[in-house]
């Protein structure tokens, strides 16, 4: 196993008697793309400030390449921060400098020679697709372009780690897509470890292979999106995060649905499945084997990181319904009963 590039060990922090983070532990390997998700107030921003060595937690350790950031003196931390790239929600570009001069700033701080700065800036402008924009000022750029400059600046000093703080939250959907594609591209080309912190599940779904979820200062889940979808039924705290990207129960069904079973009622279930090959063709199998009335109410199959994943809401009605439910349970990754729709003859 490779040594982790970034590790958080039992990090706990309080703000005026209130716990902002509670016993957060995880480790990230080189080249990973990780999404950290949580609603506002979940502790994401606090965690980010610890990860980029801007602040120190009260308890626990943050290790970057094996160096404990919580035990370094300020002048050493200044040096360490030069190896971490940070991308901001509101770009935070200096309005008094041109695009090229903004990108050169980390190199200037690191004391690189002017010639090298210029070469690197041109290289980076090319990488982020802004060749020829060097002499413009940030105020002349669109939001998406500003964020590209922000990314180029974060990459300038060849960081070991790229941290993105809500990097797409201020952008329109089109720019969001292009920025996420750019980040994915950078991860692939440079093998750079990227952590994106966001409140939007849609962003991590499209971008991160691994997701950490924070809620009220606690790490409530660490896994792939498939893990998230299959655990969504059990963990109530995950549901609000997943709500945006999951199929929703159609309104008319939701109105008819009740919690208790009755004779001849249809069962409404949320089914998650993933794996090699295609989804088990269980609609056909169910109809044939149990002579059931099986219907897909909402959802379908999408591909996540090259794997087909099905997330859907189905309804089953018939004499041998309960046998069928058992059969489905065996077949899929996770299953959750949402309710029953009574039979109206």
């Amino acid at each position: 196993m490779k040594a982790p590039i970034l590790e958080s060990r039992h990090v706990t922090h309080r703000f005026g008697g209130q716990t902002a983070l509670k016993n957060i532990s995880f480790s990230i390997e080189k080249g990973e793309v990780v999404g950290v998700i949580g609603r506002s107030g979940a502790g994401k921003s606090t965690l980010l400030r610890f990860l980029c060595a801007l602040e120190t937690p009260e308890e626990g350790q943050i290790l970057l390449d094996g160096i404990d950031l919580t035990k370094q003196p300020e002048n050493r931390l200044i040096e360490i921060r030069r190896h971490i790239g940070l991308v901001f929600q509101h770009f935070n570009l200096l309005t008094s400098r041109t695009v090229a001069s903004n990108i050169a700033l980390p190199l200037q701080i690191a004391g690189r020679p002017r010639r090298e700065q210029q070469e690197r800036v041109n290289e980076l402008l090319e990488l982020v697709g802004l060749a020829g924009f060097g002499e413009k000022y940030p105020s002349q750029l669109s939001g998406g372009q500003k964020q590209r400059v922000g990314i180029a600046r974060a990459l300038a000093a060849n960081p070991a780690l790229l941290l993105c703080d809500e990097a797409t939250s201020a952008l329109d959907p089109e720019s969001t897509t292009s920025i996420l594609n750019l980040l994915t591209d950078i991860n692939r080309k440079l093998g750079l470890t990227i952590i994106i912190i966001t409140h939007e599940m849609d962003v991590v779904r499209r971008f991160a292979r691994r997701i950490l979820a924070l809620d009220h200062g606690k790490l409530i889940e660490d896994g792939t999106l498939i893990d998230f979808l299959s655990d969504g039924g059990q963990k109530k705290t995950l549901q609000p995060l997943l709500a945006d990207i999951r199929p929703k129960l159609p309104n008319d069904i939701a109105q008819q649905m009740c919690e208790t079973d009755s004779p001849g009622a249809a069962i409404i279930m949320r089914v998650v499945h993933s794996g090699e090959g295609v989804m088990p063709p269980f609609f056909g199998a169910l109809a044939q084997r149990f002579t059931l009335d099986a219907a897909l109410l909402q959802g379908g199959v999408t591909t996540i990181s090259g794997q087909p994943v099905g997330d859907m809401i189905v309804s089953l009605r018939g004499e041998r319904r309960d046998e069928a439910v058992e059969f489905v349970k065996e077949l899929v990754k996770s299953m959750e009963v949402l309710g029953y729709v009574p039979h109206h003859p």
Binding site: R81, F88, N92, L94, T95, S96, L105, P106, I109, R153
Partner: protein, 216 residues
Amino acid sequence: MSPIILNVILHATLQTLEMVFASTAISVLVGLPLAVFMIVTGPNGLYRLPIIGRLVGIIVDALRAVPFIILLVVLIPVTRFIAGTSLGTEAAIVPLSIAGIPYFARLAEVSLREVDMGLIDAVKAMGGTRLTIIRSVLIPEALPSLIGSLTVTLITMVSASAMAGAIGAGGLGDLAIRYGYQRFNTTVMMDVVIVLIIMVFIIQMVGNSLTRWLRH
């Protein structure tokens, strides 16, 4: 208008310009570092020196609390010590600067405070030292607004220099009082007023266009 009067007005205008620009230059040279000091030692500042920071703030406010016409008189011994005399244009630069320093410092402090904290964070996260943050973020980002503060200070110095004229500093204020007030020469006084208005207009116009140019 007689060439003599024209000459007198021209001479007074140059004296006023000398007082205004010299005292403003000193105000900026001393006031800007003071403003930076007050910002970086303040709450959430880069350096944690709250007691010294507060002390500087109190001195600045105390100086600003004294009306300029009184400050002029109070400072006569200081002026005499620095300039060798308390009369004349050069001597007037001393009290004008002492009034201008805290004035510009407070204005500049407001300009510096407007700099987005996110930018300071960004440069800090890049591994910038505190000096880098002051040099590459605080001052350049506040520059358009600082130019605005400079314009206001220049115009305030124009009116303050007229007041200094009352105690023998020369310049347009002195001219207006001697000819317009003591000798009832309304023409000279009106001429002085027109010159002052034009002077203020030009300063404001140059200041505005400089600010606009710097804002990109």
